[in-house]
């Protein structure tokens, strides 16, 4: 505080006597700030408008069938989004199933179990995971993780479940190459963990210590404190954090493009390759022309609507708790 005001004083003192500040400059500054803030609004509107405009011909040509059709044939100019939509939802769902428990575990570890001296380096390690670029996750997933996954998970599991009903189709890899929807889900899980974990950690930190101490005071174990005091207290914002993670998983592009296999077919097995909306756009956009381009933009439009609904819900949930 002292340093701050000194700073200000020093800055003001040595200058030559300032002429009376003109009200016009003040107005201009206000307007510039206002315009910049409005620009944020405009950009978001622009994104929606431009993508919807670009995708409109595809929606017009294929109608509602665009969403339900699983055709994607460049030669015959037939396009449908169904496979990509299912791939997007499946990989994001898998990411949540795998990533959320890990995130909660990390958040609980950091707030409840970790000794003070280790807290900062551990938190830093987890946060650095968030700043690794998505393309690096893609390379790691394809070159390091996928071969291991094929050898130690896909092949043994496929051999085990072959011929069994339901699991035999769900967990059978026709070509155990390591890439596929499940691999994409696992990589996405790793990518959303730092985000979900750091928000959850902040929320757990905000819970008054008294609550925790009184629970320990009546003889609860750490597990019981977490299960019956902390999680219920932070539940709304934890769901918000999970939704934020979901928003990320739905729109993640490069990492998924590397590991999902990019096949346009609907497979019952989560070991088989598939594609997501984002991976298809990344794969085909630069060579696309005419109707294919419109179809890809229409895919982008669907992605926009889905992620924005998810993100709006997420922000509302996280915010509500902050206010309360």
């Amino acid at each position: 505080m002292v340093a701050l005001s000194e700073n200000v004083a020093l800055a003001a003192a040595p200058r030559r006597a300032r002429s009376a500040p003109s009200p016009i400059a003040d107005r201009i500054f206000h307007l510039a700030a206002y315009a910049s803030a409005l620009l944020v609004l405009l950009v978001l509107a622009g994104i929606l408008a431009s993508i919807a405009y670009g995708g409109w011909p595809a929606f017009q040509t294929f109608g509602p069938g665009f969403i339900t059709s699983s055709a994607w044939n460049v030669g015959r100019e037939e396009y449908g989004a169904f496979v990509a939509i299912i791939g997007t939802l499946a990989s994001a769902a898998l990411a949540l199933v795998i990533g959320v428990p890990i995130s909660l575990g990390i958040a609980i570890y950091l707030t409840q179990l970790c000794p003070g001296w280790a807290r900062r380096p551990v938190a830093m390690t987890i946060e650095l995971l968030a700043s690794v670029p998505s393309i690096i996750y893609g390379m790691w997933g394809l070159f390091i993780f996928a071969p291991l996954f094929a050898r130690f998970v896909q092949v043994p599991v496929s051999n085990l479940v072959e011929g069994l009903p339901i699991v035999g189709t769900l967990l059978y890899a026709q070509v155990p190459s390591g890439v596929g929807v499940l691999t994409a889900g696992i990589i996405l899980a790793i990518m959303i963990v730092p985000f979900v974990a750091s928000i959850t950690r902040d929320m757990l930190d905000q819970i008054p210590t008294v609550l925790r101490e009184s629970a320990y005071g009546i003889g609860c174990t750490t597990w019981e404190v977490v299960r019956h005091v902390l999680i219920p207290q932070a539940s709304v914002s934890i769901i918000g954090a999970i939704m934020l993670g979901l928003g990320r998983a739905l729109g993640e592009t490069m990492a998924v493009t590397f590991v999902i296999g990019n096949a346009n077919r609907l497979s019952a097995s989560i070991f088989d390759p598939g594609s997501t909306i984002a991976s298809r756009i990344a794969n085909e956009f630069n060579e696309a022309d005419g109707m294919q381009l419109h179809a890809l933009l229409a895919l982008g439009c669907i992605l926009f609507v889905v992620t924005f609904i998810v993100l709006i819900i997420a922000r509302l949930l996280v915010r509500r708790v902050k206010v309360a």
Binding site: I51, L128, G219, E224, G251
Partner: protein
């Protein structure tokens, strides 16, 4: 890495106090408690192992391709030998700089509006909310937006479009941190400024901005770290180019992320080698940036 030593003694104050009474705790409760602690530590360990494994992979594969040519020669054409990634490094620097130069004034001014002028008005609330959404919007959509708005109208891929796409990604980060940091500045400082007869714009420029300086710079550094590795938006705006790009930035402009994407999946051994070297370079740069930003923020807060 750091997690391992904590596995055994759980070392939480309250848990340590409870330890002598273990005998009276039912076995089921004890097991559940142990399981939670072990699982949580394992989850943390997993995160550390993944980060370590990514870094190890980059160092092992990336260092093999390191040479002087990496920094002096442009990327080689398909099938030709040798080459470097100098054009991609330069292109990345140019576009990232362009992005941050556009995003910084807009972001800082918008953040200033939210914290100093708009405050709790309906419009400010709306902008704040939408900014938060833009913050986590898929970057590929921003790429599509800039493609339709700039690449199509300007008649081709360009470094300008790439810079604008990166600016759109960086802006919300800067808006958010600027607003948060300005809000931490105590009100009496502003009142003192106003009492001296300074109009709002002067108070903001000479008092609040100055007080929040460290935080605002942190936001800019974080934004820089965020856009430096962005691939998807550049794929549709700047694309890539195997030679030095033209100084007016029209046509494909080589950049590290797209180069890595294209080269890593290519059949040529030397291309893949360059991709790994580029990946190591970019990751080290980004991690260094984010660590610097955090250290900077802590230094600023401590003052």
């Amino acid at each position: 890495m750091d997690a391992r030593p904590n596995l055994a003694p759980a070392s939480h104050g309250a848990a340590a106090l409870a330890a002598p009474t273990w005998g009276r705790v039912r076995a089921g409760r004890r097991t559940a408690d142990r399981a939670l602690k072990i699982l949580c530590a394992l989850a943390t360990l997993l995160g550390a192992v993944v980060l370590g494994s990514i870094l190890l992979m980059l160092i092992v594969e990336g260092l093999r391709g390191f040479s002087l040519a990496l920094f002096t020669e442009p990327t080689p054409g398909p099938g030709s030998e040798g080459g470097g990634i100098a054009n991609a490094i330069l292109g990345s620097l140019v576009m990232t700089t362009l992005g941050i130069v556009v995003a910084t004034p807009v972001g800082v001014m918008a953040g200033t509006y939210l914290a100093e002028y708009g405050k709790t008005s309906k419009l400010a609330d709306l902008i704040r909310f939408l900014n938060d959404i833009l913050l986590s919007a898929p970057s590929i959509l921003i790429g599509l937006f800039v493609y339709t708005v700039m690449v199509r109208t300007m008649g081709g891929y360009s470094g300008w479009a790439g810079g604008v796409a990166l600016a759109i990604i960086a802006t919300p980060v800067i808006v958010r941190t600027t607003e948060d940091m300005l809000r931490l500045v105590p009100g009496p400082l502003r009142e003192a400024g106003a009492a001296l007869g300074a109009p709002p714009s002067l108070v903001i420029r000479h008092v609040t901005w100055r007080a929040a300086q460290a935080g605002i710079v942190t936001g800019i550094l974080l934004a820089l770290a965020r856009i430096a590795g962005e691939t998807a938006p550049l794929l549709f705006t700047a694309l890539n180019n195997n030679s030095w790009f033209s100084p007016n930035l029209m046509g494909g402009v080589a950049n590290l992320p797209v180069m890595i994407y294209q080269f890593a999946l290519s059949p040529y051994e030397n291309w893949r080698q360059l991709a790994w070297a580029g990946a190591l370079l970019i990751t080290v740069a980004i991690l260094a940036l984010s660590i610097t930003a955090r250290v900077f923020l802590r230094g600023g807060k401590a003052r």
